[in-house]
Amino acid sequence: MNDVRRIALVPVLSALIVGSDFALAPYVDVKLLDVMVFSAAFLFGFRLGAAVAIISEGAWSFISPWGFAGPIMPFLIGGELLFAAAGWWASKVWSDRSKVAQNSIFIAALMLICAFSWDVETNLATALIASWPATSLPIVLAWQVSGIPFALIHETADFLLGLLFAPAAILLVPRVMKGGA
């Protein structure tokens, strides 16, 4: 795939992500963002996946129905890069795309680990921002614990999307693009 098409994919995928974010806005912790960043990195490499993560998460941080994310925005984007890195790494480990369906449980597990890391990282950042400079371990733990119900939903959703959506996207997107070329 040439560079122009690769570059064009970034805004297209970002637009899809932000659109789906709005569509899923009522379900706060269920988003296609993570799995699409993962799939993009799996199919097109870390740089493209990271670009999609930065642009889509950055845009969502500004225009989400809950308003501007504020100082937590870099942490949200940083956490999203985990999915890009995981997608790229998964493409190296499970490079045989014909077996992606068999490996879907592995992808789902990887998505869950990323979602967990994202939750821990963003909860930590929230604790730092909210309590700085009086931040302490109990405060950080309290923020982590208070986020558990949301984290459970987020991680379960990412696991299921990793199980179903990611393998489908990894199989179908190349065929669609090949057909359109």
Binding site: V93, W94, S95, D96, N103, I105, F106, A108, A109, L110, L112, I113, F116, V145, I148, P149, A151, L152, E155, T156, F159
Partner: protein
């Protein structure tokens, strides 16, 4: 030989399971902690509430005791006040209300009022009889005060302080007055018969099970009633 991809995949699945179970366990542990704290708080609140309830119950019992004393004092006042005074008229009407209120309060508290069972018959002399059964009187009341309470104050009398420690001559019951030829007389019941009382109502002490009657009777030349309830 397990491939590298399968190995990493299995590791990923195991880690994911570990994370999922850990966070779920943590979630329920946190729920447990919250519930435990709430239970402790509720227990503490319950302890405070119980202490307050005990204090309140003590005050309630004290208040009931004071109420009882007040009624007793008021009964004594009614028994020795001139019936034409405003104080008597007010107190004679309120005494029955206060007595009923006291008994209701004791009942509501699960207790049993300190009271005697008394029964009273009013014979209007024209064939009309009215019983006041299941009635109560405070220990220490005389028949006059008991009658006054049982009739809700619907009793007219003239006070004669010069007789003994003071006597009431009943002139009307429930709005039915005596006439030139008929007067209200008081009777006591015992041995399956009514006995005309040789003393006034003020000198008949109400006891547990006392039964009295008021009858509108004529009198003969010996001042003995010409009727029996």
């Amino acid at each position: 030989m397990v491939s590298r991809g399968t190995f990493y995949g299995v590791v990923a699945v195991l880690v994911a399971l570990l994370l999922l179970t850990s966070i779920t366990a943590l979630y329920y542990y946190n729920q447990y902690q919250n519930a435990s704290s709430a239970t402790e708080a509720s227990g503490a609140e319950l302890g405070v509430a119980l202490a307050r309830y005990d204090a309140l119950a003590g005050q309630y019992n004290s208040s009931l005791s004071n109420d009882y004393t007040t009624i007793s004092l008021l009964a004594q006042a009614v028994a020795s006040l001139n019936t034409s005074t405003p104080a008597y008229r007010a107190a004679s009407g309120d005494l029955a209300t206060l007595w009923r209120s006291y008994q209701s309060l004791v009942d509501a508290g699960g207790g049993k009022p300190l009271a005697y069972d008394v029964h009273m018959l009013v014979d209007y002399g024209n064939g009309t009889l009215r019983w006041y059964n299941d009635s109560t009187a405070q220990p220490g009341w005389n028949a006059y005060v008991a009658t006054l309470v049982l009739l809700d104050g619907n009793l007219n009398a003239t006070w004669y302080p010069q007789f003994g420690s003071g006597e009431h001559f009943v002139t009307a019951i429930n709005g039915v007055p005596g006439t030139e030829s008929l007067s209200w007389s008081i009777w006591t019941y015992g041995g399956n018969q009514w006995t005309y009382s040789q003393v006034g109502a003020d000198l008949i002490q109400a006891q547990n099970g006392t039964t009295i009657a008021w009858a509108l009777c004529g009198y003969n030349s010996s001042y003995q009633p010409t009727c029996v309830p």
